[in-house]
Symmetry: D2
Subunit: 395 residues, 4 copies
């Protein structure tokens, strides 16, 4: 995807030392010349531009996104255990306060139990044939040659492992969906490369040759899909807590029976609207943590899907769970090693290899905290008033 040198007049300037403070400054000057906008604050950063190769092209400066600290969040996970302080990067007033409140509630209830139940990252090529029978025959061949396909795919990576291939038939096509585990990387590029290798291996061996496109749009990369909810993309993580009625009333000002009645209404609302989430606002917590910790924030598209399931127990206790079926994140690669991002990961004890499950648990616990707070605020009547008090929303 190379940019050719001889660009039309007006191209953003490049230099030999393109990842340098000078190059960035030149681009800011260029921008100011063309638009009149000074990029003074954008030019204020501590990251070394030389570190940014692989993360950005045409580096010009940084967005400063405020980070608020919430917590402590008490987690009873398999990977995350104890109290955590959560860095939330956002510009939306009330968000940190609201999550903080939920964390306090959950802390008083013994914390959040978190469980990662599955992991998978996909690339999904589509193979076209002359008719449906040829496509079906190809599917059989893929099953018979799974070992070879797996070997070809895994040759391109030391951490990715092919764990299965879904197969879907439509017309004369066979859609394959390669599922990999990708350790602590999010893995979209890793699996792209591995799947390409697998497809080329298939192309070389499949009798009569093969016609394929590397993505048939069922990956489903950077977009929500029911398929993600069903078959998991990234990590499937579950956060659970049991909240006594008295605690709920004291901190949130609402009783658990009212919450449970409201849950029924929310479920119906979700079914009417065809929404991908019967909870309140998982996207808020996920986004704020993703920005802070150097995730590919566009993955909020997939990651915000959620299923809330609750129980009102006979003693008034409220069991509250949220399942995130397609939480995509990394503690390695991508933006995780950049300065502020790495610091925020370190704040969570989540930087580097072997930490992605832990980070997934912390994100899920954070999301649950946010659910308890907003869900209660809607019922207790302080949803609007708290935004009035804490937000920057003029009438």
């Amino acid at each position: 995807m190379s940019e050719d040198a001889g660009r039309a007049r007006g191209a953003v300037p490049r230099r030999d030392d393109d990842y340098s403070a000078q190059a960035a400054a030149e681009r800011r000057r260029f921008a100011q010349e063309h638009t009149g906008a000074a990029l003074a604050h954008v030019g204020h950063f501590s990251v070394d531009p030389a570190e940014l190769a692989g993360n950005i092209e045409n580096f010009t400066g940084v967005a400063q996104v405020p980070i608020g600290l919430a917590g402590p969040l008490l987690i009873d996970g398999e990977h995350a255990q104890g109290e955590f302080y959560i860095p939330l990067a956002t510009t939306e007033g009330t968000l940190v306060a609201s999550y903080n409140r939920g964390m306090r509630l959950l802390g008083e209830c013994g914390g959040v139990r978190t469980t990662v139940v599955e992991q998978a990252m996909q690339r999904a090529p589509v193979f076209s044939f002359g008719d449906a029978r040829q496509a079906r025959a190809f599917g059989v061949w893929v099953d018979e040659n799974y070992a070879g396909i797996k070997a070809a795919a895994e040759e391109t990576t030391w951490s990715g492992r092919l764990i299965g291939i879904e197969k879907y038939s439509v017309g004369a096509m066979k859609y394959l969906r390669f599922n990999f585990t990708t350790a602590d990387a999010a893995g979209q590029n890793m699996v792209g490369k591995a799947t390409l290798a697998a497809c080329e291996w298939i192309r070389a061996l499949y009798p009569g040759g093969i016609d394929y496109v590397l993505s048939g749009n069922i990956d489903t990369d950077k977009k929500h899909s029911q398929l993600n909810v069903i078959n998991t993309r990234g990590r499937r993580v579950i956060a659970e807590a049991v909240i006594p009625n008295a605690t709920m009333q004291r901190i949130m000002g609402v009783d658990t029976a009212t919450l449970f009645r409201s849950r029924q209404l929310s479920n119906v609302g979700t079914l009417i609207s065809g929404a991908c989430n019967n909870g309140s606002h998982s996207a808020n917590g996920i986004t704020a943590m993703f920005i802070a910790t150097g995730q590919d924030v566009a993955n909020v598209a997939e990651s915000h899907a959620a299923i809330v399931y609750t129980q009102l127990r006979d003693n008034g206790d409220y069991y509250w769970s949220i399942t995130l079926p397609s939480l995509i994140l990394a503690t390695y690669g991508g933006g995780t090693g950049l300065p502020t991002q790495k610091e925020c990961l370190e704040l969570l004890g989540c930087y580097g290899s072997g930490k992605a499950d832990k980070l997934a648990e912390i994100v899920a616990a954070t999301v649950l905290a946010g659910e308890t707070s907003l869900g209660s605020a809607i019922l207790a009547g302080d949803w609007v008033s708290s935004h009035d008090a804490l937000g920057r929303n003029r009438p």
Copy 2:
């Protein structure tokens, strides 16, 4: 949603001068004491903490998110006209280069035609009754009292205007969905406040009183839904371009007939997987612009829904359109006034009142640029190789 003073041991420290460099520094020290993680880079910022009231609580520092400049992007909009340089805040290598390439293509084809076709922001309370007939009667009453409801809602805001109320019946409930225009604000809080006022007006007047919850989860705030695709949330914006085959081949290395065949496969993939977007990766461009320009980035959840529609014309020209049915953004309020965010908006000529339609057009044009680039790369075979060259993705 106030936090009470007497917190458990370990609460994040607060001060009287809470929006100050000192308070932020104290929280960084606190974090380091509890976690061992230094927040040195997080503490490097040029934003004045005093400006952050209304945007964040427990301000501790900033995330530095690299911005790359793409462009020029030639737009033939009703609000955005001419060439624009697009600030993209991301840590994903290849993204800026890829969008840049698409912008070059579109620039050579006369640019992107952009059109904002609708605007609406919703809050959706649910009213519960004894049975379905009472709920139906309430719906009739709402219609008859629309003027009063509208007046009550609009009294809370000088820029929001109630433009209609959707009504959905399930069981003994009536779900209402208040639609407002919100000028240049995203407006979620504005419409929350206005809808609360409307509901309280209803409560005061409705014979026999009323039982409602301010959100029945069909808003559908911070989550994708089919309802958003159908009825618009935020702005419904369309970007269109016509690309000659020769230009496509020269810049993208793929012919338009191949692209059109691939479009058919992607449409089928979308139908199989139940995805909310039959395009490639709108979330990438939207997220990068949202971070740069101070949007509520969690709105990527709703905003990334898209419908791609293309034509292969007899002369080989490729008409390529993308419709964003629920693009939520602002040029006023929220994070738009923070230093780097404001600079990026000014770079686009989009800061302040009367600019939201323009920004929506620019985002849509950017998204289309990204579609042309990734869609082509998948077919031309440089998708994986370009990430290898430009990305930070270790095997």
Copy 3:
């Protein structure tokens, strides 16, 4: 859609007196000659072939579908009041017994309250333009010319009334969705004709002419869609009942608390699977009534969508509601006047004009009866055993 006379060898024979016993017999002989299959029972019917013009082409005989009588079903509707005996045409053992059991339960609880809350039938043309702005301008023109469009549409029908036009923008297209009330007819053809007239009126008047297709597939005729659930197709009908725990236990062998817990699980299952119905089996009752009463049975596709909402009240009572958002039926036209079909409608007091709301209420009440029975059977453990006892299902 005329069939031309000179058919290839083997065409099904036609005669001048095509709607006659002789023509039907000739076709049965023809079938036997070509396939060896005697159609003796198919040829046993009491309907007069001469009555069948307008209902079938190439009439050859009849399918005899067994009818079982269930009931009494006690209904507290606005149109249906009192006890009804329900004709269910099916070949699935257990179905009649199961619905019957549910009717008994509901009868002991004071019956089913039924409410028709909306009615609409759609035809949805799509108009194509040069770009999105032209499409948007067209939408404005449609609003401005609504009165003329309405008049043109209604000129084709004495019972159909245009009640609104939904408008959806994608790319350079404007999808319109014409909503009509159609009195006691299902109305698909009526609204097709009326919408065609409206479109031709538009074509004649719209400056510069117009390019449209009469269906852009958002009608959404003969298929389930989320849009139907949201905006109603046919009738939106709600059935409600309140069942004391003791009655539930005595008749169904399950307590209401267990049912309510199971409801939570079913809701989650619906969200996982992306199903159009969080209830059990509305399609069973609807189909059996549709066959018996001469409905267009293919409308089961749309009609089986449902939303179940229940409450477990403090005294153990169980409020059980089901909302059918797109129940399409008729008491006039189509197959309703054929002999057995008419008799079954008369059995319900639903034949002819002014009866469709009543029939809709009876169908909804029947569906609720089926829900209570199957929902309980799954929990009480007699689901499988009853099918073993009553069904024709060999291992």
Copy 4:
């Protein structure tokens, strides 16, 4: 699900010889007494009531549904080969003529290629635990004990075979979805019984016992779901044909380029509306064949889902495929052995063991015929006029 003897006043009468002409006649008299409606035609039937045990309870008579014969339909299947005459039971005028026209078109193009690519029938229990980790551990146990589970399930059936168990985690639950092949039966009851046996086997062996419900609503029985589209329910069948432009124009009055343009619009309409079928009206043909051949007609709910995929080839040929991902049918059991139903199956050479794949192919080919006819009629402008000419739809 036994009905107790001592029914309230008004229960539908039962007799010792309940499956007899006398019992049916008594019920018709009963109905007439209570409603005034004579059931004369309903009482006209040739089926022997004694044959109906296992198919219906409270047998009262029959619905006579007119059958029209369409064809010949030329099929190039793996199970169905040659020309077939298709019995369509419907009361909707135009339907038989329209399908007939499509069959003529396809006959002139070499017929329809049909392929059954998958088969599966499901029952889907949900198991509840104390928390998500216990649920996850249970999933592992299920995998480890698959052989035992399979043996327990298959002990209940001689034709059903367990081919896999899908597993989905939400909260503290594990949803299992047992997939069986069921030979020539539709198999819903067979798999219910087998899954119950498997669950009881699990209950007996699982350490600490187990709490489950036999259906967690992801089967998804008698309702459309995205999961069915993805993972197949019943049979996944594909019908394909290649239609020269000249033939299309001669018979259908529309050229293939116009059809292909319209296909793009229909795809978009499907995405807007969230419909389960981007084709025209599969439900029509499926329903008419289901009634004629003794299928469980309620399965139209699941069976009408479809994905249309077409190509416009350089020579103007039109490749037209339709994929039915969840076509549920039987040639054995249920209503297939009843007199008229059996005759219609014999007409197709599809009665009895080993014929279900053949019937599936014929249904799919019929559906494709209907698609070509309606799809063309909408464009050629004879959609409305043909219903006017052939239908019973008064204005």
